[in-house]
């Protein structure tokens, strides 16, 4: 895996680098390839959303069509306040994807660093870091997030911080386990024997070996985090109305469930399809990167 950086170099097809090997195996996971394309499409839509939405997501009110079902003018219908649901879903994609990516990325960076330190040095550092992880694990995920939101106050930024914090211990444990397994291998021994510094050994030799596990977990975790962020908004602790966050939209739709179920349908579908895509992508990555990971 240490040659993962060779990816950028254009190699002849018969040379098998970890990257070409990964591409060969990943292409066989047809479901995951489709899911990956869907994720890319979503990201593109989310980035382009402000320029392509047909109506202003927060400030356009069509008072003649309150609760109108889907039509050509309003693809996903109109909500009880007269706002275009399609525009709100598109703008919501920005929020949910940002929340998912940013929180997991922050958790992964901090968790990976802690896991590398704990696994490589063991001893006191290991005990301190793992004890802190145990304590964070002693709170069911969403409870920790609610506690953090109660301290910092509501709002999407605090939700992202909360989700990032409870992503840290899982990444730390994962990377620590990998580091413990890798550090006794011959190539690490060899690096040490030619006098490589701890920094070089950890960043150049051990860290690349932990990447597959982190990538797989990252993808699966983004899905979970999107659900958690939406859940917090749904119970009124995350994004506040009129923000078009999917969970907050569902909460607003509860009052009119009886008369206009389509108002709740589209945000539900949006969360489901997005999270499904990340989960299918994660499953495919796992099968392509390392069959042994399947057991974790």
């Amino acid at each position: 895996m240490s040659a993962a950086t060779a990816a950028a170099v254009d190699l002849p097809p018969e040379v098998r680098t970890p990257w070409t090997e990964f591409r060969r195996k990943f292409k066989k996971q047809r479901v995951a390839v489709v899911a990956g394309c869907f994720v890319l499409l979503l990201v593109a839509l989310a980035i382009a959303a402000p320029w392509i939405v047909p109506y202003d997501a927060e400030n356009f009110f069509d008072y003649d069509k309150l609760n109108a079902p889907p039509s050509l003018a309003h693809w996903f219908g109109v909500d009880p306040l007269g706002r275009d649901i399609f525009s709100r879903i598109l703008m919501g994609a920005r929020i949910s994807l940002t929340a998912g990516f940013v929180s997991v990325a922050a958790g992964a960076v901090v968790g990976t660093a802690l896991g590398l330190v704990a696994g490589y040095y063991e001893g006191l550092w290991d005990r301190v870091i793992m004890r802190v992880c145990d304590v964070l694990f002693a709170f069911p995920g969403i409870l920790l997030a609610i506690g953090i939101v109660a301290i910092l106050g509501g709002g999407m930024v605090n939700v992202i911080i909360a989700v990032a914090i409870f992503s840290i211990p899982t990444f730390a444990r994962l990377v620590r386990g990998n580091t413990l397994a890798l550090k006794h291998l011959t190539f690490v021994e060899a690096a040490r024997s030619i006098g490589a510094s701890d920094w070089t050994i950890v960043t150049r030799h051990i860290f690349p070996g932990t990447i597959p596990a982190v990538v797989v977990y990252f993808s699966l975790r983004v899905g979970t985090s999107i659900i958690t962020a939406a859940s917090l908004s749904f119970i009124g602790m995350g994004a506040q109305p009129p923000t078009p966050e999917w969970g907050a939209m569902l909460n607003e739709a509860r009052a009119d469930m009886m008369t206009s179920p389509h108002v709740a349908l589209f945000p539900s579908l949006a969360i489901f399809l997005t999270v499904l895509a990340f989960n299918l992508l994660g499953d495919g990555l796992r099968d392509a990167l390392d069959p042994k990971l399947e057991r974790q």
């Binding site: 709170f139 069911p140 506690g147 301290i151 899905g223 509860r254 709740a264 999270v275």
Partner: protein
Amino acid sequence: MLQYLVKRLLGLIPTLLLVGVLVFLFVHLLPGDPARLAAGPEATAETVALVRQDLGLDKPLPQQFVRFALGALHGDFGRSVRTKRPVSIEIAERFWPTFWLTVAAMAWSVTLGMAIGVASAVWRNQWPDRLGMTLAVSGISFPAFALGMVLMQIFSVQLGWLPTVGADTWRHYILPSLTLGAAVAAIMARFTRSSFVDILKEDYVRTARAKGLAESIVVLKHGLRNALIPVVTMMGLQFGFLLGGSIVVEVVFNWPGMGRLLVDAVDMRDYPVIQGLVLLFSLEFVLINLIVDVLYAVINPAIRYR
């Protein structure tokens, strides 16, 4: 065995102590003066000073912590800011609805999840596997609150078969426990499948088949028993997930449980209730993990002597 149990129980103390410190510090991390919060927005400066003295907030932090910890050990978390009743009573009223909801969700989801997982492993890459795993990946991708709303819309509103909110009869438990357990069933199915696939490749399974045992006996007796070890661990972890999930599900179904109480308490900044609930939730979580570890040691004697 006893030695192992004692070792594990003692190992819990540092974790619980740290959790306690965190929960205690929680009040001091809240924006604003806790004495002002407890006294209410209209209290005069004198009242706030009295409340501060009464709650011991004028004392040094370590002393306050000892007071908090001693109180917590006696089940005393102070009084709710909102209702002025003791937090322990507030929580006790809400404990059982959440407990039974969690147990109901756990029971059906583990049974169904394991059945799907075993079927998927036995008929690997055939239609039962594809169907089961499609259901499972959908289950982990569908957020509980959306599922709850869909189920309520179909079975309570459209068909009128089941009640929408409340927790009075067993009929009230059906939809919330379905909602709460769906993700767990999905995770259990995926997990059981992957550990079962490994086990079906083991030598002792081949031996059992070679001596001519019926496939059903091979699967249920030789396979399932050995697959239980990782599955029990996973089950314990899922319990924590259910405790967290119950918070959201209780909001959807307006369930009179601890999750709903927590959400209301956060809304009202009722910090003694939040403190008590967070401590109780994490205590439960830690205890369940302990029970799982002990069960694990009962199933697999090798663990005890590590």
